[in-house]
């Protein structure tokens, strides 16, 4: 296990490095000047333009900029965001926390619901129940989040006035203590619903397929033959085995979801990484964009390693046999 973990970690280093260089080059090779993007059509005097360019470090040759970026990176310094006037790392970490507040509950809900839907659908494969569950999950996956989110806001915030339209807290007469927690949860409901609907579909489909596959295995037949109840077979024997692909999907989603909530965050003005990403594009805030690329790439790599470790936990066979797991894609 330890050796496996070390190998994975060692591999992560070049991957992250390549992503760092690639994202730097991609951002900088695009023709057009970030300073002009910042200034737009405003009558900016040349002195001002020159000062901004120097402040952004854009008056130096690109290779010098790249070298300086990599040297700083090696020292754990992701650079300085001029648009936000703070170090990029601090900025990203503070925003990532807010994204996690949204993504963790949403993914947990999606995993639980998805597995339950898979378990409900698979044994009744081909039935009306199965068709309904499969159809619903397909629908959930295909509905554009942006559209769904706006629809929710229009219905529940603007028309019915039941739910808040945006943000994490009520700004007018901000509540305190436990009411603040309740207020936060209240704001969480709609954005979380959007993300859950999307991921529940992914999980349900994978869970259904996995359970279906297990149903035909010999050990299931044996368990049935021994006279175990249907429910016990499903929960004790099939579920642990079917969980492996589910863990893969959830792990992968988790890694990518740190920035994957861009649309939801944008519509609900949830001040997480996704919002930061969007505003940084508009501001051409290169250091932040590079930082987000790097951060999300690292998150995917780490999530994959964690996923592998979860396999270890859910699959006791891996404890006995010294297998190299190369399970996830």
């Amino acid at each position: 296990m330890l050796r496996f973990l070390l190998t994975r970690l060692l591999w992560a280093v070049p991957i992250v490095l390549v992503i760092a260089v690639l994202s730097f080059m991609l951002l900088h090779l695009v023709r057009g000047d970030p300073v002009t993007a910042l200034i737009g059509d405003f009558p900016a005097p040349p002195e001002y333009v020159a000062r901004i360019r120097a402040e952004f470090g854009l008056d130096e040759p690109i290779m010098t900029q790249l070298w300086r970026y990599l040297v700083n990176l090696a020292q754990g310094n992701l650079g300085f965001s001029f648009a936000n006037r703070m170090p990029v790392l601090d900025l990203i970490l503070s925003r990532a926390r807010i994204t996690l507040l949204l993504m963790v509950p949403a993914l947990v809900a999606a995993s639980v619901l998805g597995v339950i839907m898979g378990l409900a659908a698979a044994p009744r494969a081909g039935s009306a129940t199965d068709a309904t569950i499969t159809g619903l999950s397909l629908l959930g996956h295909s509905v554009p989040i942006f559209w769904l989110a706006q629809l929710l806001v229009m219905a529940f915030a603007v028309q019915l006035q039941w739910m808040p339209a945006s943000g994490m807290i009520t700004l007018r007469d901000t509540p305190t203590g436990w009411q603040a927690v309740a207020d936060f949860l209240w704001h969480l409901v709609m954005p979380m619903t959007c993300i859950t609907i999307y991921y529940v579909a992914v999980v349900a489909r994978v869970a259904r397929a996995a359970v279906l596959e297990m149903l035909n295995r010999d050990f299931v037949l044996t368990a049935m033959a021994k006279g175990l109840t249907h429910r016990r077979v499903l929960w004790r024997h099939i579920l642990p085995n079917a969980l492996i692909p589910v863990v893969t999907v959830v792990g992968y989603s988790f890694g990518s979801s740190l920035t994957g909530a861009i649309l939801t965050e944008t519509v609900f003005a949830w001040p997480g990484l996704g919002s930061l990403f969007v505003s940084s594009i508009a501001m051409r805030d290169y250091p932040v964009l590079q930082g987000i690329f790097l951060f999300s790439a690292t998150a995917v790599v780490v999530a994959n390693i964690l996923t592998d470790m979860v396999y270890w936990l859910v699959d006791p066979r891996l404890h006995r046999r010294r297998v190299r797991v190369v399970a996830n894609a």
Partner: protein
């Protein structure tokens, strides 16, 4: 009797209150403003960012402020005099205090305008360059001596023009850009004090109890809430979570949904911005004045106004936006001079020697536009149709906004380009840059992209800039509008609508012509 009076008095009050309550400002309440992004810094003197201007001009004040119709009203300066030669400006300061209780003095004014605004403020730099010396011998009087008369000088002393007065004793001797007063601990003299900044979410400001104007501000708090998505911003306004959206952050495509909403008020504010077509006069046949005029005649202006610009704003009649009312020449009217008439346009092109070839094409031109702006895309399509109808083949070249600027202002690789120019609030600040010879600066964006150069035009714009008073300036600008109406290096098409929207219970939102007077706003229950 006196008993009766005691009984009646409260009754009378009760009766009187409902009549006047609606219009009597009340203290208290919170105004929430929906912005597209966070401020960069907690000062308005470093950018033309809207969040900066809002926070900055709540925390700090300028010497003057914009009243209705851009009339200049007292700010930190309660009165002022201008010498007849237009070179000496004497300003008398009101009695104001910094948050730490120290008085705001002429030293603060001179130091911050020289060391902050004139160095870092894109809007103030042109005025800053004109200042020769500032006399601060009396702490309550500031005397500016200019190197030469500069028409927009008073205009440049308004807070939102990067001219917020900042405390010398906080900034002097420090690295200004790294001073914590810019990000965490500002110390101003304006109506509000900074309280909290949750990055990416909101900035909170609270009432300044020692503000110089007695009884002001009315509001307890102002919150700037960041909502990056424009549709979400409008929904938040409809849901009552925010009270106001500033013009640049209000998507005009939502105008229709809000215009009949009884809970919403709106007003055209801002100092003008125009949609126009830059013609590359270095390319044939656009170097011919007659051809440029024919292009203008061929444009179906009514159709464009109704369909491209949704009937909002107004079709332009000259190079100077009518919102700069003192400088706008009403005698020049493009809609009459160049009324839509394809037959006339064809004849003008014929006369210019551009007869149609065997395929009906007189010549081919490339029309560049920014694909990021829906208005520009549609305008380009209408222009293509209109010009092709008179025998000009038009190749549309839409690119991402940033690449558009490069193509037009760096490479000059275009024949015609749809662009948008802010007036900057004064002809000398935002309009002349399209036409003067010294604005032909390769690589600088949104300047003289057509590379039109005419000594007469240069001289008139200089007279307009340097005139000692507004009447004198206007005379030069009136004349230059007549000249350029014939020359047409740029086809000025449309005066953009700049609409700020708010909830009706936010009162006094529109006292000024541009940003609100924050200290005057109050919330009605």
């Amino acid at each position: 009797m006196s008993m009766l009076r005691w009984l009646i008095a409260p009754l009378a009050l009760l009766l009187a209150v409902p009549v006047h309550a609606a219009d009597t400002p009340k203290k208290g309440g919170t105004l929430i403003v929906g912005n597209a992004d966070d401020p960069r810094v907690l000062s308005n003197n470093f950018s033309f960012n809207i969040g900066d201007a809002m926070v900055g001009c709540m925390v700090y004040e300028g010497l003057l402020r914009f009243g209705p119709d851009f009339k200049l009203e007292p700010g930190l300066a309660k009165s002022w005099e201008v010498s007849p030669d237009g070179k000496t400006y004497t300003m008398h300061l009101d009695d104001a205090k910094w948050e730490d209780g120290k008085p705001v003095t002429s030293e603060d004014v001179a130091w911050s305008l020289t060391n902050i605004s004139a160095k870092y403020g894109p809007k103030f730099i042109p005025a800053g360059k004109m200042i020769d010396t500032i006399d601060t011998s009396d702490p309550r009087t500031v005397v500016f001596h200019l190197k030469q008369p500069f028409g927009p000088f008073l205009f440049s002393l308004v807070c939102e023009q990067n001219a917020g007065i900042m405390p010398k004793h906080v900034f002097e001797g420090t690295d200004i850009l790294k001073n914590p007063a810019l990000t965490t601990k500002p110390m101003g003299s304006g109506p509000f004090r900074f309280a909290e900044w949750v990055h990416g979410d909101h900035v909170t400001l609270v009432r300044n109890p020692t503000y110089r104007r007695p009884g002001k501000p009315y509001l307890d708090k102002v919150i700037l809430k960041t909502i990056p998505d424009s549709a979400a911003r409008v929904l938040a306004l409809q849901a009552g979570e925010i009270d106001m959206i500033y013009e640049l952050y209000f998507p005009l495509s939502h105008h229709k949904t809000l215009v009949n909403d009884k809970r919403i008020q709106m007003k055209n504010v801002g100092y003008g911005a125009d949609d126009l077509v830059i013609l590359n006069v270095k390319n044939t046949p656009l170097d011919k004045r007659e051809v440029r005029q024919a292009l203008m005649v061929a444009i179906d202006k009514d159709y464009m106004f109704k369909n491209v610009y949704l009937g909002l704003g107004k079709m332009a009649t000259s190079i100077v936006d009518s919102r700069l009312s003192w400088a706008h020449n009403p005698a020049v009217d493009y809609t009459k001079m160049y009324a839509y008439d394809p037959a006339r346009a064809k004849k003008m092109l014929d006369d210019a020697g551009l007869k149609p070839g065997p395929d009906g094409t007189r010549f081919t031109m490339r029309l560049a536009f920014s694909a990021n702006r829906a208005d520009d895309v549609q305008a380009a399509q209408v222009l293509q149709r209109n010009w092709q109808a008179v025998g000009i083949k038009v190749v549309l070249q839409g690119t991402e906004g940033n690449l558009f600027s490069t193509k037009v202002f760096v490479d000059y690789d275009f024949d015609a380009a749809v662009a948008n120019y802010s007036t900057g609030g004064d002809v000398a600040l935002g309009v002349s840059r399209l036409y003067t010879t010294d604005s032909i600066r390769k690589g600088a964006v949104f300047v003289n992209g057509s590379r039109y150069s005419n000594p007469e035009v240069d001289a008139l714009f200089a007279q307009g800039r340097d005139g000692a008073n507004q009447a004198e300036r206007a005379k030069a600008y009136f004349k230059v509008q007549e000249v350029l109406a014939k020359e047409l290096p740029v086809l000025t098409l449309h005066e953009q609508a700049q609409i700020t929207v708010g909830r009706v219970n936010a009162r006094n939102l529109f006292l000024a012509a541009h940003y609100p007077w924050w200290d005057e706003i109050w919330m009605q229950k």
